[in-house]
C-alpha cells in the first residue's frame, strides 16, 4: 500500500519535470536535451532564494515561481538566439543545439554554485508525516502529489479550454494559417516556449526539498522524463500524466518484487510499452 502512495509521489515528481518537456515537443517538435539542465537551474535559483531551511510552504512556492520566471526568461533567450535561428534547417540540428545548451548550463551551474552538495529542507508544515487510515505518509509526498495534480489540471485547462491554448494549438498545427487569422505567431510561440521552459524551473523549485542539489541533478530526472514523455505520446500532456503515474508504480513494484535489481523494471517496462504501443498510450499530439 505504501508502495502505491510512494509510486504516485515518484510519478508526480517525474510528471512535474516531464510536463514542460512534452510541451516543448508539442510546440517546436524537438526533444529538448537541455530540459534537465533548466530544471537544475530552477532548483539552484530557488535554493539561493530560500536558503537551506525555507520558512513556510508559501516561501517555497514563491521561490519556485521566481525560479520558473527566471528559467522561462532563460528559455526565451535560448529560443530567440539559438533555436529560432536554426528552426528552418534540419530538425536534428535542434537536437545538437539543445545538447550544447545543456553542456553550457551544466558548466554555468558549476561555476556559479560550485560542486559541493546543497540541500534544502521541507518547510514547516510539510516536514512531518500524516496518518491516513493507519498508513504513514510523509506530508511532503502529499505536497508533491498535490502539486503534480494542480499543474496537470491547469495545463489541461489552458490547452483544451482556454483561448490561449487554442491560439497556441492553432500556431502549432499551422503557423501560416494562424498568421492569416491575425495571431501574432512569433509572440505566441515565444510565450508558449517561455511557459514550457518555466515549467522546468517550477518543477526545480517545487521538488527542491526532495533531493540533493549537485551539478548531476539534471541527469537524474532527464532520462525518466524522456521515458515518460515517449510512453505518454510525444506532446501529449494527458499521456505524460498517465505515463508518469505508471512509471512511478512500476518503479514501486520493482523495489517490492525485485529488490535485487533496482531501477531495471523502468527500462524493461518501457521497451515492452513501446513494442505494444509504438505511438505512446494516448498517441502523439501536436499540442
Amino acid at each position: 500500500m505504501f508502495t502505491l502512495v510512494n509510486g504516485l509521489t515518484t510519478g508526480m515528481a517525474v510528471f512535474l519535470v516531464a510536463a514542460g518537456l512534452t510541451l516543448v515537443f508539442g510546440i517546436m517538435r524537438i526533444l529538448n536535451f537541455a530540459h534537465g539542465a533548466f530544471f537544475m537551474i530552477g532548483a539552484y535559483v530557488a535554493s539561493s532564494l530560500v536558503g537551506s531551511a525555507p520558512r513556510s510552504v508559501l516561501a517555497l512556492v514563491a521561490a519556485a515561481v521566481v525560479a520558473a520566471l527566471v528559467v522561462g526568461v532563460l528559455g526565451i533567450v535560448v529560443q530567440r538566439f539559438v533555436l529560432r535561428r536554426i528552426q528552418h534547417v534540419d530538425e536534428h540540428y535542434m537536437l545538437i543545439a539543445t545538447f550544447a545548451v545543456m553542456l553550457v548550463c551544466v558548466g554555468f551551474v558549476k561555476l556559479v554554485w560550485g560542486l559541493e552538495f546543497l540541500s534544502v529542507d521541507p518547510p514547516p508544515g510539510i516536514d512531518t508525516g500524516v496518518d491516513i487510515f493507519g498508513l504513514f505518509v510523509p506530508s511532503f509526498s502529499l505536497f508533491i502529489i498535490g502539486s503534480g495534480i494542480v499543474v496537470f489540471l491547469v495545463l489541461d485547462f489552458v490547452i483544451h479550454r482556454a483561448w490561449a491554448g487554442k491560439m497556441i494549438t492553432a500556431i502549432a498545427r499551422d503557423g501560416w494559417m494562424a498568421e492569416l487569422l491575425g495571431i501574432n505567431v512569433p509572440a505566441g510561440i515565444m510565450a508558449a516556449v517561455g511557459g514550457s521552459f518555466a515549467l522546468a524551473g517550477l518543477a526545480g523549485g517545487l521538488l527542491l526539498p526532495n533531493q540533493t542539489l549537485s551539478p548531476a541533478l539534471g541527469d537524474t530526472f532527464l532520462l525518466l522524463a524522456f521515458i515518460t514523455v515517449v510512453i505518454g505520446g510525444l506532446g501529449n500532456v494527458r499521456g505524460a500524466f498517465i505515463a508518469a503515474i505508471l512509471l512511478g508504480l512500476i518503479d514501486g513494484l520493482n523495489t517490492m518484487f525485485l529488490p535485487a535489481y533496482p531501477g531495471v523494471a523502468v527500462y524493461v517496462g518501457m521497451v515492452a510499452f513501446l513494442l505494444m504501443w509504438p505511438n505512446g498510450i494516448l498517441g502523439e499530439s501536436r499540442l
Binding site: Y93, A97, A100, Y267, V268, L274
Partner: protein, 335 residues
C-alpha cells in the same frame, strides 16, 4: 574542381594520420587512434541515419558488444586468431542488431525507435555492470594486443606503434566498405527510403527489409569498431556503451554534416581536436565544448562538410555556388 580539392585534402590528412607516430606526442597518437575508431563508429551510425533515415540512440550498446566480445575472447587465450575474433565480434554485433531490428523496426521508427534503442543500451550497460565474470563496473583490464597473422606474415601488434598502424589499415578498410555500401545500388535504394518511404515502396522496394539489412550492417560495423577499440584502450568497462557513447556518433554526424558521407568523420576529428586543444582548461570543459558546438551549429547549419562544400564550390565558381546554396538547404550525398 570541388572533388579535386576535397580529395587532395583527404589524402593529406590520411598521410598525416599514418605518419603521426613519427612526429607527435604519444598522447596525441593514442587520441588519434581512438578518434579513428569512433569516426568509423559514427560512419556506421550515419549509414543508418543519413541513408535509411533511422535514428538509433543505442549504438553504444553494439559498440560495447563488440568490445566485450573481443576482450573476453582475448582473455580466453584466443590471441592467435585475432582477425577471426574481429570477424566474430562483427558477426555477433550484426546478429544482435538483426534480432532487435526484426522486433523493433516493424513497429516503431522515428523518435520511438530512438528511445527504444536507448533503453536497450542502458539495460545492457546495467547488466554488464552486474556480471562479476565480466569484471562488473571495473570491466576487463589489461587486455593484450595480440599478434595478427595474415597468411604467412605475422605482425606483433603489441610492439611500439604497430597496433596504431593496424588501426589505420583496419579503419581505412571499414571506411572503404562504408563508402562502397553507401554509394552503390544498395545505398541509392536506402536513400530513396529516407527521402520518401512510400514512394520507394511504390517502386517495388521492400522498405522494411532494406531497413532491417541497413540496421544489421550498421550494428555489425559498430561492433567491429568496438572490437578494434578493446585492444587499443586495453580496458573495457560497462561505460564503454553508456549514453555518452551513443550520443557520440550523433554529435559527430551532425557537427560534420549528415548529408555528406565524410561528415561523421570530419565531426569526429574536429571534436577530438577541440577536446585536445582545450585539455588544460580544466573545470570549464563543459562550457567550452558546449559553446563551440553551439557556434558550429549556428554558423554552419549544414555541418562542417556542408560549409566546406559551399566554400570550395564558391572558390571554384562563385556565381553557381550562390544559386545552389540558395536552392537547397540540405544537399544530396556526394563525392
Amino acid at each position: 574542381m570541388n572533388r579535386t580539392i576535397s580529395g587532395a585534402l583527404l589524402a593529406v590528412l590520411a598521410a598525416a594520420l599514418v605518419l603521426l607516430p613519427f612526429w607527435a606526442n604519444s598522447g596525441l597518437v593514442f587520441l588519434a587512434g581512438t578518434t579513428m575508431v569512433v569516426a568509423v563508429f559514427a560512419l556506421s551510425w550515419n549509414l543508418l541515419f543519413g541513408y535509411a533515415g533511422l535514428a538509433s540512440f543505442g549504438s553504444g550498446g553494439l559498440f560495447s558488444i563488440g568490445a566485450y566480445t573481443m576482450a573476453v575472447t582475448l582473455r580466453g587465450g584466443y590471441e592467435g586468431q585475432f582477425l577471426l575474433l574481429i570477424a566474430l565480434s562483427t558477426a555477433i554485433g550484426g546478429a544482435v542488431a538483426f534480432a532487435i531490428g526484426v522486433v523493433a523496426l516493424r513497429r516503431s521508427t522515428g523518435i520511438f525507435l530512438a528511445i527504444l534503442t536507448l533503453a536497450l543500451a542502458e539495460l545492457l550497460r546495467i547488466t554488464l555492470a552486474k556480471i562479476h565474470w565480466l569484471g562488473a563496473e571495473d570491466g576487463i583490464p589489461s587486455i593484450v594486443r595480440p599478434k595478427a597473422s595474415i597468411g604467412v606474415a605475422t605482425v606483433d601488434l603489441a610492439q611500439g606503434n604497430h597496433y596504431y598502424w593496424f588501426l589505420c589499415v583496419a579503419c581505412a578498410l571499414l571506411v572503404a566498405l562504408c563508402w562502397w555500401i553507401a554509394h552503390g545500388r544498395f545505398g541509392r535504394t536506402l536513400r530513396t527510403i529516407r527521402l520518401d518511404t512510400e514512394r520507394a515502396a511504390f517502386m517495388g522496394v521492400d522498405t522494411h527489409r532494406y531497413r532491417l539489412v541497413a540496421f544489421t550492417i550498421s550494428g555489425a560495423i559498430a561492433a567491429c569498431a568496438g572490437s578494434l577499440f578493446a585492444p587499443w584502450a586495453q580496458i573495457v568497462t560497462p561505460d564503454i556503451g553508456n549514453m555518452m557513447r551513443s550520443t557520440q556518433p550523433i554529435l559527430f554526424t551532425l557537427l560534420g554534416g549528415a548529408s555528406s558521407f565524410w561528415g561523421p568523420m570530419i565531426g569526429a576529428f574536429l571534436f577530438s581536436a577541440i577536446e585536445f586543444s582545450t585539455r588544460t582548461l580544466v573545470g570549464i570543459q563543459e562550457i567550452i565544448t558546449g559553446g563551440i558546438l553551439l557556434g558550429v551549429v549556428l554558423l554552419f547549419p549544414t555541418g562542417v562538410a556542408g560549409a566546406w562544400n559551399a566554400l570550395v564550390a564558391r572558390l571554384a565558381d562563385p556565381y553557381r555556388a550562390e544559386a545552389k546554396a540558395k536552392a537547397t538547404t540540405l544537399r544530396p550525398v556526394k563525392e
